[in-house]
Symmetry: C2
Subunit: 183 residues, 2 copies
Amino acid sequence: MARAGLTGEVVVDLALEVVDRDGPDGLTLAAVAKLATVATPSLYKHVAGLPELRTLVGVRVMDELTERVTAAVLGHGGVAGLERFMRAYRSYVADHPRRYAAMPQRPSDDPRWAAASDRLVGVLFAQLDGCGLTGSAAVDRARAIRAAVHGFATLEAAGGFQLAEDVDASYRHLTELLTAGLR
Amino acid sequence: MARAGLTGEVVVDLALEVVDRDGPDGLTLAAVAKLATVATPSLYKHVAGLPELRTLVGVRVMDELTERVTAAVLGHGGVAGLERFMRAYRSYVADHPRRYAAMPQRPSDDPRWAAASDRLVGVLFAQLDGCGLTGSAAVDRARAIRAAVHGFATLEAAGGFQLAEDVDASYRHLTELLTAGLR
DNA sequence: ACTCCTTGGCTAAGCATGTTAGCTTTTTGG
DNA sequence: CCAAAAAGCTAACATGCTTAGCCAAGGAGT
C-alpha cells in the first residue's frame, strides 16, 4: 500500500478543512482520517489523540489570527493602529467563523497554546505602548480590548446580533469607546 | 420497581449538577442517568436527546443570569444601574463558571433560547433607555456592552488573564469605558 | 545489491456514548 | 375496578476514541 505521506502539519491542515466544512463539533478523528484516505488509528502516528488535535488546531488558528492582525498593523501606530487591529481581528473571524469557534474556551495548560496566545497579546501591547500606555494602564486597556473584540466576534459569529441595525456601525462605535482617551 | 419521579425540570436540575461537577464536556446522558439512578434510555421520556438537553440547560442558565442582573438593577437607573448590571453579570459567571461555559455558542434556532436571550437583552435595553439612549444609539451601546461583558467573563473563566494586575480593577476600567458619555 | 531498522500504515478488539425499538409495570382517570 | 397513558426497563445497533500488535515501505550502512 502506497504511503499517504502524512505529517503532524498535514493532519492539522486536514482538520482545519473539516472544521471549515462541518464546524467545530464535526472535528472528529474519523472525519480527518476519511479525508486523508487512511484508517482512523493511523492518525495516532502523528497526533496523540483528539484532545491534542484540538489544541493544535487552536494554536494554528490563533497564529493565523496573529498573522492577520500583525500585517494590518505594521506601519501604523496610535489610535489608527488600534483601529486597524480591531478591524483585522473581526475580519478574520468573519472569513473563518468556524475556525475561530474551534479555538478552545477552556483553560488549556498546554504551553504551545499559551505561547500562541502570548504572541497575539504581544501585538496588542506593542500597539498600546505606541499610544503611550504602559504598566497597569496598558494591562487594563489590553484586557478591555481583548474582551470586547473576542466577545463581539463570538456573538456575531453565533448570530447573536438579530436587530436590523448595521453591525459594522456598532463595531465602529465599540472601537471608539475602547480607544477613548488615547492619542 | 419504584418510580424515580423524573420530569423535564428535574432532568435539567441534574444536568446542571453534572455541569457544575464535570464541566460542559462532562454533560452526558449517561452521567445524568447515573445521578438519577435510572437507565440512560429512560431519560428520553423527558427530553428529546442530548442536543435538546443542552439547549434546555442553556436556557436555564441564561434565565438564572437574567434573574441575577434584574435583581441587581432594580431601583437603580442611569450609569449606576449599568455598573450594577455589569458587576452582577460578572459575579454570576464567577459563581458558576461551568454553567456559563455550558451556554451554547452556536446559532441555536430554538425559540426557547431566543426568548431567554431576549429577556436578558431586554433588561439591558431598559437600563439604556433610562440613560436616555434610544434607537440605533441604544443598539450600538447594547451590543458593545454585551460583547465586552461576555468576552471578559469568558476570558476570565478560561483563565485568560494571566498577568498579576488586579482583574477587578481592569473590569472597573472596562465599565468606565463602556459607560462613557452617559448620564 | 542486500540487510536491517525505523517509520507509517493496517486490522482487531474494547469501551463509552447516543439513540431506537419494543416490553413491562406503575399510576391515574373514568 | 379496569383500561389507557406514562415511566421505567433491557436489548440492540451505530459511531467514535483508543490501545495492541502486525506488516510493509523506505532509507542507511555495509
